[in-house]
C-alpha cells in the first residue's frame, strides 16, 4: 500500500500553515473564490457529487444532509462540531490547530451554498491551542475580507463566531451541541421533531457538520466533486484521517484512501502504524472509537469502507482505531470503556443513566474479585435493557446513541473473552447467590 497524495493534511508539513500567510502561499482560499464564481446550487451539487460522508461518527453523506433544510424557511445556521471527544479520536484537533483557515474556508463555502446566514464554530473547551489558532485565523480572515460583510466583495455576508465548549462528551451529539450553544445543559433533544436541518438552533433550520467534513470542502470545490469521488470506494469516497493508537509501534494519525485501505494496511503497514509494538500479537482492535464493537484478527483484511464495516457488525465511527495486544486484560479494557459512558451519560434517559452505571458497578466488582458467575448474565441483561436484542446496528430505548454505545464493549468482550471474566470470578471471595441474581444495593 502506498499513501495517497494528502488532501486535508497536505499543509501539515508547512511550518506556518496555521497563519493566513502560510495558507495563501499554499493555495488557500482558492476554493472559496471558485465557489463565489459558481451559483450556490452548483456548489451544493459539487458536494453531492463528491459523496462526502460526514466524518463525525454517523457517516451520513454531507450533500444529502444539506438537502434536508426546508425550502423558504429563514434564517438557516451553520454549526461546526469541533467537540471531538470520542475515546481514541484525534484528528479534528489537528485540523483546527494546524490548518484553521482550511476549516474557515469550508464554513464559508457551506454558508454560500445553502444560504446559512451565521456560523458558530463550536470548539471543545479543553482545546486551548485550537481555540487560539482559530481566533488568530478568524481575526486575520476578517481583516483581509475573507469573512464577515461582503466576503471578497461578493454578496455573501456571514459572521463566523468562535464558541468554546466546557467539557462534556455528550455535547458531540448534534442536538446536545445545539442545547449547549443556547446556553443550557448539553442534553440531547428528542427527534422528531428536533432534526437540526428543520428544527435546530433557536428552532431554525441548522446544518451541523464535523470539522473534518467541512475541511474537505475547499479541495472539493477547487478540484471538483468528481475528482474527490474518484478516490476511494463507491460509497466511501476521497481520503480520510484515522488515528491509530494503543499497542502499535508507530501510533499516529494517517490520511489514507477511504474505502480501499484495509485495517491490515493501516495497523501493520510500515508507512502507517507499523504493527504491534514489542513483537507481540494482536488481541483485538476497536475500529471506530469507544462506541464501536470490537474487531479481531479475522477482520484485518476488511477495507476501511463504511458499508463493509457496518455489515461486519461494527462501524468506522470517528476514525479511531484502538489496538490492543495479547497482554491486554480484556475485562479491564471493557471496564475502562464502560466507565467512560457511565461518567458521560447526561442522565436524561433512564436506560442509559441507570444502565451504564450498573454496568460499571458490576464490572468493577468483578475486577475487585467480588463478582459472581451470574454477573455475566446480569451484564448481558442490563445491556439488553439498554438496547433490546443487543443487535447491530443497536436498537434504541434512548434519545441518543450514548447508552447503546456502552453495550458494544461489554457484548464484544463477553462474546470473545468470557474465560477472562470467569478467571476473575474464579478468584472471587463472594459466594454464588442462590436463585435469581440480585442487584446489591450500594451502601450510603
Amino acid at each position: 500500500m502506498s499513501l495517497p497524495e494528502p488532501i486535508i493534511t497536505r499543509r501539515f508539513g508547512i511550518e506556518n500553515s496555521h497563519t493566513l500567510e502560510g495558507y495563501l502561499s499554499s493555495g488557500g482560499y482558492r476554493g472559496l473564490r471558485r465557489a463565489l464564481e459558481m451559483s450556490p446550487q452548483e456548489v451544493h451539487e459539487e458536494v453531492r457529487t463528491a459523496s462526502l460522508l460526514g466524518r463525525g461518527g454517523a457517516g451520513f453523506p454531507a450533500g444529502v444532509k444539506w438537502g434536508f433544510c426546508p425550502p423558504g424557511v429563514w434564517p438557516r445556521y451553520l454549526v461546526v462540531n469541533g467537540d471531538e471527544s470520542e475515546p481514541g479520536t484525534y484528528k479534528d484537533r489537528l485540523l483546527m490547530e494546524r490548518d484553521p483557515h482550511q476549516l474557515i474556508e469550508g464554513c464559508l463555502i457551506a454558508c454560500y451554498a445553502l444560504g446559512l446566514s451565521q456560523c458558530f464554530l463550536y470548539v471543545r473547551g479543553e482545546m486551548a491551542l485550537a481555540q487560539e489558532r482559530i481566533a488568530v485565523a478568524l481575526n486575520e480572515a476578517y481583516q483581509a475580507g475573507y469573512v464577515g460583510k461582503n466576503v471578497l466583495g461578493s454578496k455573501l455576508s456571514v459572521d463566523i463566531v468562535l464558541h468554546w465548549g466546557a467539557g462534556a462528551y455528550i455535547v458531540g451529539e448534534e442536538t446536545a451541541l445545539l442545547e449547549s450553544l443556547e446556553g443550557k445543559r448539553g442534553m440531547p433533544r428528542l427527534k422528531p421533531p428536533a432534526f437540526p436541518a428543520s428544527f435546530g438552533l433557536y428552532g431554525k433550520p441548522t446544518i451541523v457538520n464535523n470539522v473534518e467534513t467541512l475541511s474537505n470542502l475547499a479541495w472539493i470545490i477547487e478540484n471538483s466533486g468528481a475528482g474527490f469521488a474518484a478516490l476511494g470506494s463507491e460509497q466511501s469516497t476521497g481520503t480520510r484521517m484515522f488515528a491509530v493508537s494503543g499497542h502499535v509501534k508507530n501510533p499516529g494519525v494517517f490520511e489514507v484512501e477511504f474505502g480501499v485501505t484495509t485495517f491490515r494496511d493501516i495497523i501493520f503497514g510500515p508507512q502507517c502504524a507499523g504493527g504491534i509494538a514489542g513483537g507481540r500479537k494482536l488481541k483485538t482492535f476497536i475500529p471506530g472509537g469507544a462506541s464501536a464493537p470490537w474487531f479481531f484478527e479475522e477482520h484485518l483484511d476488511l477495507p476501511l469502507d463504511k458499508a463493509t464495516v457496518d455489515q461486519a457488525g461494527s462501524m468506522l465511527g470517528s476514525g479511531a482505531i484502538v489496538v490492543m495486544d495479547e497482554t491486554t486484560d480484556a475485562v479491564a479494557a471493557c471496564h475502562n470503556l464502560v466507565r467512560f459512558f457511565a461518567r458521560e451519560s447526561c442522565g436524561k434517559c433512564t436506560p442509559c443513566r441507570e444502565g451504564t452505571s450498573w454496568l460499571e458497578s458490576v464490572l468493577s466488582r468483578i475486577m475487585r474479585f467480588q463478582g459472581r458467575l451470574e454477573d455475566l448474565d446480569l451484564l448481558m441483561d442490563i445491556c439488553d435493557n439498554i438496547s433490546p436484542g443487543i443487535a447491530w446496528p443497536p436498537k434504541m430505548t434512548t434519545i441518543c446513541p450514548l447508552g447503546p454505545s456502552a453495550v458494544s464493549p461489554v457484548a464484544s468482550a463477553l462474546a470473545r473473552f468470557r474465560d477472562e471474566f470467569e478467571a476473575y470470578i474464579a478468584k472471587s471471595t463472594v459466594a454464588a447467590s442462590v436463585g435469581r441474581p440480585r442487584i446489591p444495593v450500594a451502601a450510603g
Binding site: E132, Y142, Q143, A166, A168, G183, A243
Partner: protein, 198 residues
C-alpha cells in the same frame, strides 16, 4: 459594583453582541469569569445571570453540567491525566499513581499550597501521544514518570511560562471589527439571504 473588571465587562458586551440570543453567551461568559478569577464565584454567577436574562439557578444548572467550570478554587494548576482507552493501554494508571504519590494527593484533590489540583479525566484527543496529560489545558505528550516530575518542578518554580494560570484558555480572543461584521442573524427575521437572490 459588578463582578467583572471594566475591561472584562466590555469584553462581555462584545461577546454577547455576537449572538442572536443573549443566553447563548452564557458559557462564554462563564469562561470569562473563570479566566478572571481562576474559578466561578457565586458573585460571577449572579452577574452573568443578570447579563443573559437567566436566574442564578439556571446559571448554576448549566455550569454544573460541564466539567471545566470550577465553583471552588482548584489552585493555580489543574493537572488532568487522561485515562481514556488509548492512554489506559499505554500506562495512564501507573502515571496517575505516580502523580498521586509525587503530589501527595489523591485524584480529585488539591495540594495545601494552592498550587496543584489533580484529576483523572476522559479522553483528551491525544490518543497517539499516550499517556497524555494537560496542565490548565496545555498538552504534555508521552508522559513518563520522570517527565511528570520535571513538569511539576518547573511549574512550582514558575519556569513553565507557556502554561498560564487556571482559567485562561486561548490567549488571543476573536475580535470582529465593526466595519467588517455581518452581524448576528436573528431567528425572528425571516429573510432570504441576498446572495441566493438571482
Amino acid at each position: 459594583m459588578g463582578y467583572f473588571t471594566s475591561d472584562n465587562a466590555k469584553l462581555a458586551e462584545e461577546i454577547m453582541a455576537r449572538y442572536p440570543k443573549v443566553r447563548s453567551a452564557l458559557i462564554p461568559l462563564l469562561h470569562l469569569a473563570q479566566e478572571q478569577g481562576g474559578y466561578v464565584t457565586s458573585e460571577a454567577m449572579q452577574e452573568i445571570a443578570e447579563l443573559v436574562g437567566a436566574t442564578p439557578a439556571e446559571v448554576l444548572g448549566t455550569l454544573s453540567f460541564y466539567e471545566m467550570f470550577k465553583p471552588t478554587d482548584p489552585g493555580r494548576y489543574q493537572i488532568n491525566i487522561c485515562h481514556g482507552i488509548s492512554c489506559f493501554l499505554c500506562g495512564s494508571t501507573e502515571l496517575l499513581h505516580h502523580a498521586e504519590e509525587r503530589l501527595g494527593i489523591p485524584a480529585g484533590g488539591s495540594t495545601a499550597d494552592g498550587l496543584f489540583s489533580l484529576e483523572a479525566v476522559e479522553c483528551i484527543a491525544a490518543c497517539t501521544e499516550a499517556p497524555a496529560l494537560q496542565v490548565n489545558y496545555r498538552y504534555f505528550n508521552r508522559v513518563a514518570p520522570e517527565l511528570f516530575d520535571e513538569v511539576v518542578e518547573s511549574l512550582a518554580s514558575g519556569e513553565l511560562a507557556e502554561v498560564p494560570p487556571h482559567g485562561v484558555l486561548a490567549r488571543v480572543r476573536q475580535h470582529i471589527p465593526v466595519e467588517r461584521a455581518a452581524g448576528p442573524s436573528s431567528p425572528e427575521v425571516s429573510e432570504t439571504p441576498v446572495w441566493l437572490e438571482s
